[in-house]
Every structure is written in C-alpha cells, then in structure tokens.
C-alpha cells in the first residue's frame, strides 16, 4: 500500500486534525519565525505531524525535525533483547536535544501510545529501561522543566490507545470515539478554537491570581483514604494555562489543560493519600496507590495494581519519593465530565486534583527564572530524574488553604472551587 495515501484513518476528521495542528503551533507553541521545531510522535500520528509541519512552516519555522516512534520496535526489545539491553539509553540523542533547545528550538510532543503497551512485560526490565532513559533524558528534560524554550504536548487518537479506552467497542468505533474525545477536550472542535483558548486561558489566569494573593503556607486535603498536608514552597507561584518561557515566548505547554499548579515544599508534606484514578506509567498501569509521607518523604507505599512498578519508580532516586508539583482541577472539568479514563496523564491529570513525584518546575516560583538550582532547593523545590503526576481528586475531596498563622480558608469543597 502507499503509506502516503492510506495512512489516514477514515474515522478521524481531516479538518479537525488540521485545526489541532494549527492550535499546537499558534496557541500551544506560539512558534516564532525562524525557530526550529523538534516533534516527537508515535508513527500512527503521522497525519497530525504532517499538518503540524505545514502550519510550522507557514508560521516561519526554520527546520521541522520529526522523531517517529514505533510500538512494534519498542516491543521487539522486550521480546528479543538480552538482559544488558535494559540499561541502555540514547544519551547522545538527548544531549543533542538539549543543544537544540539551547539554540532556541521549540519542542512539540504528540502523545498517543497504547498506555498498556508494556503491561505484560517484566516489570524489572520496564523499570530499569525507564530509569536508564530518565537519566539519559536529563539534558533535554532540564531545559523543559526550566522552561528555557516554548514547548507543547498534544494528543492524537491511535488504534492501540482507543482499544484501551473503549475495550468493548469495535476498533473503528473506538477510534472515532477517542478522536471525538480528544478534539473536544483539546477545545479543537468549536468554530473558533483560537478564541476558545483565549477565553479559557483568561479563566485559568484568574484562578492563579486568586491563589497567588492568598499565599497559603500549606494545603490540607481530606477525603476517603486521604488526610494530607502539603506545605507549599517558600516563594511559590501558582500558574495555569499559558505561561512565558525564558526565551520570551508565551505558550500553552499542555493541550488540553484545566489545572492551576505550583511547587510544594519537598520537606513539608505529612500524612496519607489515596489515588482516585489509575496512573498509566511507561506502558504499565498503577492503580489504588496509597502512600504515607513523613517530612516530605514517602515512607510507605502500596498499590492494588502495578505495585512493583511503583516501587521501581520510587527507587529511581532520592527525589522520586518527594513531591515536585501540586495541582488543582475541579471535578466539574470537561475531561472529568466525559467520565472517560484515558490512561494518559495529559488527560487524566486534567480530570482531577493531582500531585507529582519528582522534579519541580522552577518556573513555579516568584522570580523563578533568576533562581539558581541551590536557591530552588533551599526554598523547598525538589530535584529528580522523574516527574510523574497522579490523581488524588474526586467529588469527595475537600481542600483548605492554611496560612502561616494557622488561619484556614476553604479552597475546594466536594471537588469544586469554593
């Protein structure tokens, strides 16, 4: 067959693909003339990558460099490679990406992988391969977490992903349903997606501003299986929606996004918390997470599913046991209301309040751009090779903001902003 002509699924509306591509370039990245662009995507997302290349060049892009990954090749490793393979990672490639970002190359990631791709593989190998990759990825990740350049993540519906979200539907129908859900959650299906995003960004900006006026010392979470106090970092700043990268470009890193978020204090988290949605991590599913924090550190952790993967994850490095992000999302968010479990953090984290293990965003500090690594750590920022979000919100979650003097204000009640 001719991949050029038939790679397009009839289940996925080409006009919506084009609108999502335009959104990724003009709202997600706000790509500026002369910027190069690095795109990573599963090969099944090729129809979107092609439209992204067109919109990038129309916006004046220098060079668009795509990296297409393939699930079959990823699986071939687990099926055929010898044991030593699982400690390897392409450090040279990630160092190169870091250099590209230093040269002001923008970064677009298209997600769409089968979230359970590695579910049947040896968790020990999955963990080792994930750790080796996370360590090697450092030079690229550092520029992204430091927000050196404009970056964006969008999603594309693939058959493998659709099968997981709609296991009871025929494949074509599942793909069509997932496509609708992605275009809708990404606000790419209205008559004027650019205007819709402008309004949405305004609402998120207002929520962040309210929290930044309050300057809470900590947040206190209560709900089923949860009684958790999360100290906020000294000089933390709440953010949401669009944000200004260090290269001066104001972009929307996540499409979709419904969260406002900031940096917790890595040493001031106490109590216990239970996850409310499954976490899909590097092809494995972790569900029913229950952890206890002491002095900011996870001292015990269990899971009803994927506990071995969770423990590998926590053992990545010292920072993997501490928090790097706390995020607020109302239970009434459109993604939550879709009642779908996407098995993908980009979507599921925007359906519920969540926290992240690992690396913090230096951007989530007042004057974060001017802080050194040591200053960030002194203020309670966390360092790690990982950054993994997991969902703790539900319609039974209450959150109080606690001031330094002990005064309390209701922030969330039954999963909604007060």
């Amino acid at each position: 067959m001719n991949i050029r002509e038939t790679v397009q699924s009839p289940q996925i509306d080409p006009q919506k693909i084009d609108r999502l591509a335009e959104l990724a370039i003009r709202v997600g990245l706000r790509l500026e003339p002369g910027q190069d662009l690095l795109v990573t995507a599963p090969v099944a997302a090729l129809p979107l990558v092609r439209r992204i290349a067109v919109h990038a060049y129309e916006a004046g892009a220098g060079l668009v460099t795509p990296f297409l990954s393939d699930e079959e090749i990823a699986l071939a490793r687990y099926r055929h490679a010898r044991n030593e393979s699982f400690d390897r990672a392409p450090a040279w490639l990630y160092e190169g990406m870091g250099k590209a970002f230093d040269g002001n190359t923008a970064r677009l990631a298209i997600v769409g992988e089968d979230p359970m791709l590695l579910a049947d593989q040896d968790p020990e190998k999955v963990g080792r391969a994930g750790k080796a990759n996370a360590i090697a990825y450092g030079p690229a990740r550092d520029r992204i977490t430091a927000f050196s350049i404009n970056w964006n993540i969008v999603a594309y519906p693939t058959p493998g992903w659709a099968r997981r979200v709609f296991p009871d539907l025929p494949e074509d129908e599942a793909l069509a349903r997932l496509a609708d859900a992605i275009f809708s959650a990404s606000r790419a299906d209205g008559p004027d997606p650019l205007a819709d995003w402008q309004r949405h960004n305004g609402e998120l900006r207002a929520r962040s501003a309210w929290l930044n006026e309050r300057r809470f010392h900590s947040l206190h979470y209560t709900g089923p299986g949860t009684d958790l106090t999360i100290g906020l970092a000294d000089g933390h700043e709440w953010m949401g929606g669009e944000s200004r990268a260090r290269n001066g470009i104001t972009c929307n890193p996540n499409i979709p996004t419904e969260e406002v978020f900031t940096t917790p204090h890595a040493h001031r988290v106490e109590g216990f918390v239970r996850s409310t949605k499954p976490l899909s991590h590097q092809g494995s599913l972790i569900d029913g997470i229950e952890v206890r924090f002491e002095g900011g550190r996870i001292v015990s952790a269990k899971a009803s599913r994927g506990e071995a993967v969770l423990h590998k994850l926590l053992d990545t490095d010292e920072g993997a046991r501490r928090l790097g992000e706390v995020a607020l999302v109302p239970h009434s968010s459109p993604i939550s209301q879709s009642r779908l479990l996407f098995y993908n953090t980009l979507f599921d984290e925007n359906a519920a309040c969540h926290i992240a293990l690992g690396q913090c965003y230096s951007k989530c500090f007042v004057d974060g751009e001017t802080l050194t690594d040591d200053e960030i750590i002194a203020r309670g920022g966390n360092r790690s090779f990982i950054h993994v979000d997991w969902m703790i919100g539900s319609n039974e979650l209450d959150i109080d903001g606690v001031h330094a003097d002990g005064r309390r204000e209701a922030v969330f009640r039954k999963g909604e902003w007060t």
Copy 2:
C-alpha cells in the same frame, strides 16, 4: 486504520523482508553483542525496520534507535517554508550521531525514497538545503568515511520509488516488480542468502587482490565521449565486498555491491568523461553529464538535464570538483543485466564503472587506518562535504592500467574484466 496491522504491503513477501533484515544484521553489519544500532529509513520501510530490530536484538544489540523520515514532511518545507529555512540543518542531531559512533554504535541506512521527490522544486533551494545538510552532517559522515564503525546500506521497495522505476505499470504491479528487483540484486531471494554472500565476497576479494598486486600508477578510460586518465593515489589500496572497520568488525557496507574501488589522486586526473546513466541526487535527476578535468579539477561541466543542480553540487566546496573514488564494475553484473534504471546510486553504481566527486575513503590506502588527514591529502586523497558517485561504464568502455614506467595492461575491454 491500524498502522500496526496494515502498513505491510501485500505486494512485498514478508519472508523476503525478514531475510533481507537478517542479511543486513548478520552480513551487512555483522552486529556484535552489546553494540547499539542507529537505523535511518523512510517511514514506508517500517516493515523492514521492524524485522531489523528483531534480528538486531536477537544478535545481542544494546539499543536500536530508529529515525523514520517522511516525504510529505520534506515536501511541506519546499511548499510552505520561508526562504531562510533552506540554510538550516539539524547540526545537533548529526553531532549526536558522531558521538554515538564514537561509542561504537553501528549504522544502518535503509534507502527507498522517491528519487524524483524534489524534481519540481526550486533547484536553488534544493542546492542550498543540500549544502547546509552536507556541512552539518560532517561529524556523522567523518566516522563513516573513516570507517570507524561497522555500517551498512540496504534498500526497501516503496511505492514512490516503484512509480519512478516502472512509470507505465499500475502501482501494485510496479511495487511488486521493484520488490523482486531489490531482493534479487541484494541476493536475498535464494534458499541460503548467507552462503551466497560468502561466495560473492570471495570473488570480489580475488579481483581486489589482483589489482593490488599490479599497483597501477593510473587508469586510462576510453569510450564514447570519454578519454580520461585517472591517477591513483600514492599507496592506494583496492577494496571490494566485505571490509574491516576500525572497531575490528568485518562488515559489508553496501547491499547490494558489485564494485571494487580505490582512491584516485585528487590532482592527477586529466581529460574528459561522459556519464552513461542518470544520477539521482537529493531528489533531482542529473543526466548526460560531460566534464573536463585539468590537474585533477573539473574545469568545465555540463549536463543535458539537471545542469543547475550539477553546478550547485560542484560549487559545494573546493573538493567537490575533484575525485574521491574510482570503482570498477563489469557490464555483465546482475544489476546491469536487469536493465533497470533504479534512479538510486546504491543500485545504479553497481551496474557500471563509476567515479565519485568529493570525499575519499581513508580506508582505501595501505595502512589507511594509521594515516592522519594531512598524510592522506599528501598522498592524493580528497576532502569534501560531499561524496557523489556517477556512472561512466558501458559495454563500450575500455580501461588500461598504466604503470609508473608507462607500461600498459588491459583491465577492461568492452565493459568486461579482461
């Protein structure tokens, strides 16, 4: 559609794909346990890349990193990018590849692009983009021309390529015919391809040994439109078929290969020569090349087609006007006998005697591994950002070997070994 299930063309025999993959890993690369592997391929060659990953991991590969390119994205640049884009290249990526090779990563290139992809684009932009890419590619190319690591090129039949080779056939039939031609020329369609390659390598080794005993000072070519004397570099060595890389691995860089070749003297080429087959260069076709050499340098050049691209190519750098390779292929070679024009150098150069503009192979010197760049140049080796082979052989070509004392020996008569 599900790319995983339907990317396979029914016109291409999966068993032959698998045999070609095995040949690439076990004969082309002789991949050693623990070696990483970098694979570049057009996205349409994904079925071969997947089998290559399987055979690589079965051979003990560390990590297989595929880079899939897409013709539509390449065209999007020419259709939509602003003028400045055509001076850009991903230097960071090629520097990274250079580092990977320094870390003993093996290199596999799968060719299969539509050879005329860029034929309708502005030759000035094609030339600039090609030059920018050639310059940026230096760190990767240097390791390949210096033969630092085992590398291999194989081909995969794609619909765009098949359309060019068989313009009068329906697309399915064209693809099936091209697939047959590739598997046959690659000696991948017999019952025991590994044994066939062992025998073939033995024959090429015998031809090289004969030429290395003779130690000709120059070769004198005569034929229609051709009266050319090519001085051979001081201490040149003829090679063919398998060859030992500096990392100690004996590999077969080209599948297919029918040539024995060595390094000409960059300053001792005199006379004129006419090409006998079209040259497909970076998506454009150059045909009817006629050039005149003085003191090793091309002082005049014309072409009946693609002359502008030829002139851009010659203007790449000073070394682009001098020779870096001279290769002998009998007119009776199987690829020549197929009477097909593949519009691809890997195949067409193995149908005819050829010469290459640009960079020489340091390997084609006695003790080439120990020579410095300056020593190679002192012996007549050429340096350039390009290495472009073009075909000058036919059944009307005679070649004499000329000794330093003027003595002559017939090497080729009417396109065949004497």
